[in-house]
C-alpha cells in the first residue's frame, strides 16, 4: 500500500518550502517573496523523522478560490486526486507573524473535511520581537493541533511529524471505509458572515499573542526594521533611484568580483592542457582529441563559471532579503506601459539566471494577458548561458583596454536585452487584445537578514546544476566538431588544408552564404548553429574549430583570442573585426537558441503556435540586427 500523503498548504511566503526541505532533506528554492513556488513537489519524508509519509509542497494560496495559475495547482492538488490518491491530511502552514490575516484558511480547510494540522512558522521572529504564543489556546479555539516551527533551525519539526502521525491514525479509525475526496463547500453564506469570521480570527490571534515588551502597539517591535528600511527603499521618488542603483551594481559586480577567480581557473586549464600535450606522442589523434577537443572546449566555458556563481549568489542575496516584492511595487507603474505588471518583475529577473524556470514563474501573474507578454519577452533577458559567450567576445573586442570597459559593456548588453524586450512587449501590448482586469496586490514580506551559509549553499547547488546541464552538450559537440574538423584528411601536413577539406569544412561551405552578410565565415556559422544545443557551446565550438593549442600562450583564453585574431576568411580578410564581433554579440543577445525554452513556452501557453512564432521571430530579428550592426561598423 502507498504511504499516506500529506500536503503543505498555506498563504504565500509562509514558509512551506522551508518546512518541506526540513521534512524531506531537499533543497528546493526558498525566497522571501510571495509566489516563489509555482508547482507542486512530492517527496518521501526523510528517514531521520521516523515516519512513513509522502509530503507535497504546494504554491501559496490566499483562499480556496484560485485567481492565478499557481493557485490552481494547489487547488488541483487538494481536490482532484492524482496519482498519489486523494489527500486527507493537510498541514496548514501559517506565518506566525501574520496570524491575524491568515488563520481563515485553517477554518476553510477544516470545513472542507480535511484533517488539519497547523504549523505556525517564524516562531523565531515572534520570540525575537518579545512575544509568545499560547499554543494550547489557539489549538482549542481552532479545533485542531498546532505546532510551532522555527524554519531557520528546524525547531519543532519532530513534534510536527508526531502530530501528523497521530492525526492520520485517528482519521483512519473514524473513516476507514470512505476514500472520498473532501467536498468543496462554499464556506461563507454571505459576505457579512465572512467579515464577522475575519474579525473573530483577528480577536483570536490577539488573544493568543502574549506580548512581553509593554509596547502600546503589539506589532511595533516586529515591524520596526521593515518600516525603517522601507522609508528609503519605497521612497516615492528616491525608491526608483535605489532600485536602478541596486540593479546596476548587481550586473557590473558579476564582472569585477569574478575576474580573479576566472584567471585562476584559466591557469588551471593551461596546466591541464600542457600535461595532456606532454603525455601524448606528437601528432597522435588521441592526444589531439583530448587536448584540442575536450580540454579546450571545456576550458572555454568553465572559465566563466565564477561569473555564473557570482550571479546566482547576488540574486540569492537579493531574493532572501525581501526586496524583490518592493522592486515589483516600484516597477509596477512603469511596466504597465509595456503591458506588463509588477508581478512580471520576478519572472523577468529570474530570466537573468535561466529562462526555463522563469517562464514557469509567470504562473504567479493573475492576468492571462500580462502573463503571456511576460513569457514572450523572458527569453530576451541575458541568461547565464549567454554570459560565457558575451565574456569571450568582449574579451576579444576590448583586449588591452582598461577592465572597467568590459564591465560596462557587459552591463550594456544586459540593458540591450531589456531594451529589445521592452520593444517586443510594447508591440504585443498594442496588438494583443485586453483581457479581464488584472490585479497587483502584493504582500510585502518583512525584511530578513540573508543567511550567508544558506545563500552560498544554494548558489553552489545552482552552479553545479549549471555545469551538469552544460556539460553533456559541450562534450558531445566537442566530439562532433573535432571529428568534423579533423577527418577525413587528418594526415594533411597543413592545419589550414586539413580544416578546409574536412567534413565540417565541406558542409560549412554550403551554409556559408547565410553567414557572409554577418561578416563571418563558415567556421563561426558552425559554432552558431551548434549553439542551439546550448548557448555556451558557441564558445566551446569556436575553441575546437580554431584549434587552440595553448603551448606557447600565457593562458588558454589568450590562446583562443590569438587564434581568433589571426583567423582569416578565404580572401584573406580577418573574420573577427569590430563590426562582426558586435554583430555576433547582438545576434546572441536576441536569438532564441534554446530548445528547452521553446519546450517550456509550448507547455505553459498550451499552444505550439506561439512558441514557434517566438522562435522564428527572435532568430530572424537577431539575424537582421546582426547584419545591420556589421554593416554599420565596417
Amino acid at each position: 500500500m502507498n504511504s499516506q500523503v500529506v500536503a503543505l498548504v498555506g498563504s504565500p511566503n509562509s514558509g512551506k518550502t522551508t518546512l518541506f526541505n526540513w521534512l524531506t532533506n531537499r533543497k528546493y528554492k526558498t525566497v522571501n517573496y510571495p509566489g516563489a513556488t509555482v508547482d507542486y513537489a512530492v517527496a518521501h519524508i526523510a528517514p531521520q523523522w521516523g515516519s512513513d509519509i509522502e509530503i507535497i509542497d504546494t504554491p501559496g494560496i490566499y483562499s480556496l478560490s484560485p485567481k492565478s495559475e499557481d493557485e490552481e495547482v494547489t487547488y488541483r492538488v487538494l481536490f482532484h486526486s492524482a496519482s498519489w490518491g486523494s489527500i486527507q491530511t493537510v498541514v496548514v502552514v501559517v506565518d506566525g507573524t501574520q496570524m491575524a490575516r491568515h488563520l481563515t484558511l485553517v477554518s476553510q480547510l477544516l470545513a472542507c473535511g480535511f484533517k488539519v494540522v497547523v504549523a505556525l512558522t517564524m516562531s523565531d521572529l515572534i520570540r525575537k520581537a518579545g512575544q509568545e504564543i499560547d499554543v494550547q489556546l489557539l489549538s482549542r479555539e481552532l479545533a485542531c493541533p498546532v505546532v510551532l516551527i522555527d524554519g531557520l533551525l528546524g525547531g519543532g519539526v519532530q513534534d510536527l511529524v508526531k502530530t501528523i502521525d497521530t492525526s492520520i491514525k485517528s482519521f483512519a479509525q473514524i473513516e476507514s471505509q470512505s476514500e472520498s475526496v473532501p467536498a468543496i463547500k462554499p464556506f461563507f453564506e454571505d459576505q457579512q458572515s465572512h467579515f464577522e469570521f475575519l474579525q473573530k480570527m483577528e480577536a483570536l490571534s490577539a488573544r493568543v499573542l502574549i506580548d512581553k515588551t509593554l509596547a502600546k502597539d503589539k506589532n511595533q517591535t516586529l515591524l520596526q526594521r521593515t518600516r525603517q528600511v522601507d522609508r528609503w527603499a519605497l521612497h516615492p521618488i528616491l525608491g526608483l533611484g535605489f532600485f536602478i542603483l541596486i540593479m546596476s551594481f548587481l550586473f557590473t559586480a558579476i564582472f569585477f568580483i569574478a575576474s580573479p577567480f576566472m584567471d585562476a581557473i584559466d591557469s588551471l586549464f593551461l596546466v591541464l592542457a600542457a600535461a595532456v600535450v606532454s603525455v601524448g606522442t606528437e601528432g597522435s589523434l588521441l592526444s589531439d582529441f583530448v587536448g584540442n577537443g575536450i580540454v579546450s572546449s571545456f576550458g572555454a566555458v568553465l572559465v566563466f563559471v565564477p561569473q555564473i556563481f557570482i550571479l546566482f549568489l547576488l540574486l540569492g542575496f537579493l531574493e532572501s532579503t525581501g526586496y524583490l516584492a518592493r522592486a515589483a511595487t516600484l516597477i509596477d507603474k512603469p511596466f504597465s506601459h509595456f503591458g506588463l505588471s509588477g508581478r512580471s518583475f520576478v519572472p523577468i529577473m529570474s530570466g537573468f539566471a535561466c529562462a526555463v524556470p522563469a517562464i514557469m514563474a509567470t504562473r504567479n501573474i493573475s492576468s492571462k494577458r500580462d502573463r503571456f507578454i511576460t513569457m514572450m519577452v523572458i527569453p530576451l533577458m541575458t541568461c547565464s548561458a549567454r554570459l560565457p559567450v558575451y565574456s569571450l567576445l568582449l574579451a576579444f573586442l576590448l583586449r588591452g583596454r582598461p577592465a572597467w570597459q568590459a564591465g560596462v559593456s557587459l552591463a550594456l548588453l544586459y540593458v540591450g536585452g531589456l531594451f529589445v524586450g521592452a520593444l517586443v512587449a510594447q508591440f504585443l501590448h498594442r496588438f494583443v487584445k485586453k483581457g479581464k482586469n488584472s490585479f497587483f496586490m502584493m504582500e510585502l514580506p518583512l525584511y530578513r537578514r540573508p543567511r550567508l551559509s544558506v545563500v552560498l549553499d544554494s548558489a553552489w547547488t545552482k552552479t553545479l546544476g549549471y555545469v551538469k546541464r552544460a556539460g553533456p552538450p559541450i562534450f558531445i559537440f566537442a566530439l562532433l566538431v573535432w571529428v568534423g574538423t579533423t577527418f577525413p584528411n587528418y594526415k594533411a601536413d597543413n592545419e589550414q588544408v586539413k580544416l578546409e577539406t574536412s567534413y565540417a569544412g565541406q558542409l560549412g561551405r554550403t551554409i556559408e552564404p547565410v553567414f557572409t552578410p554577418m561578416g563571418v565565415d563558415w567556421r563561426v556559422g558552425v559554432s552558431l548553429i551548434s549553439a542551439f544545443a546550448a548557448r555556451e557551446v558557441f564558445a566551446s565550438s569556436l575553441a575546437v574549430i580554431f584549434n587552440v593549442t595553448a603551448e606557447d600562450d600565457t593562458s588558454l583564453q589568450a590562446g583562443l583570442l590569438d587564434s581568433m585574431r589571426e583567423a582569416k576568411d578565404a580572401r584573406g580578410a580577418p573574420i573577427f573585426t569590430t563590426g562582426s564581433v558586435i554583430g555576433l554579440l547582438i545576434f546572441v543577445m536576441v536569438a532564441l537558441q534554446c530548445t528547452s525554452t521553446t519546450a517550456m513556452v509550448i507547455r505553459e501557453t498550451g499552444k505550439v503556435s506561439w512558441a514557434l512564432i517566438q522562435l522564428i521571430a527572435f532568430n530572424l530579428l537577431a539575424y537582421i540586427m546582426a547584419v545591420g550592426a556589421f554593416r554599420l561598423w565596417s
Binding site: R101, F195, L223, P236, D332, M441, E443, L444
Partner: protein, 76 residues
C-alpha cells in the same frame, strides 16, 4: 460621507467602512485580510499613480490605485 484613501497622507490611520468594486478584486482584498472595521495605515504612495503601501495588522500590502479605490472609508 464615503471616501477613498486618496486624500489621506502618509502615517494616517483610518477605519475601513466598505469594500465595493469588481467582484474578483473585492474577493481578493477580503482574502488578504481587509474587512469593514479594520484599521488601515497609509505608509506610502508612489508617484505617478503607482501603488499605495498600506498596513493592516502586521502586514504591509501594496495596492494599485484602482484596487485602493475599492476601499471606502468614513471621512471625518
Amino acid at each position: 460621507m464615503e471616501k477613498t484613501l486618496r486624500p489621506f497622507s502618509n502615517g494616517k490611520k483610518i477605519k475601513l467602512d466598505q469594500i465595493i468594486g469588481d467582484s474578483d478584486t473585492v474577493e481578493r482584498l477580503i482574502d488578504m485580510g481587509f474587512h469593514p472595521g479594520i484599521e488601515i495605515e497609509v505608509i506610502n504612495k508612489m508617484v505617478n499613480g503607482g501603488p499605495y503601501i498600506l498596513r493592516i495588522q502586521s502586514g504591509f500590502i501594496a495596492l494599485r490605485e484602482e484596487e485602493v479605490a475599492c476601499l471606502k472609508v468614513v471621512g471625518l
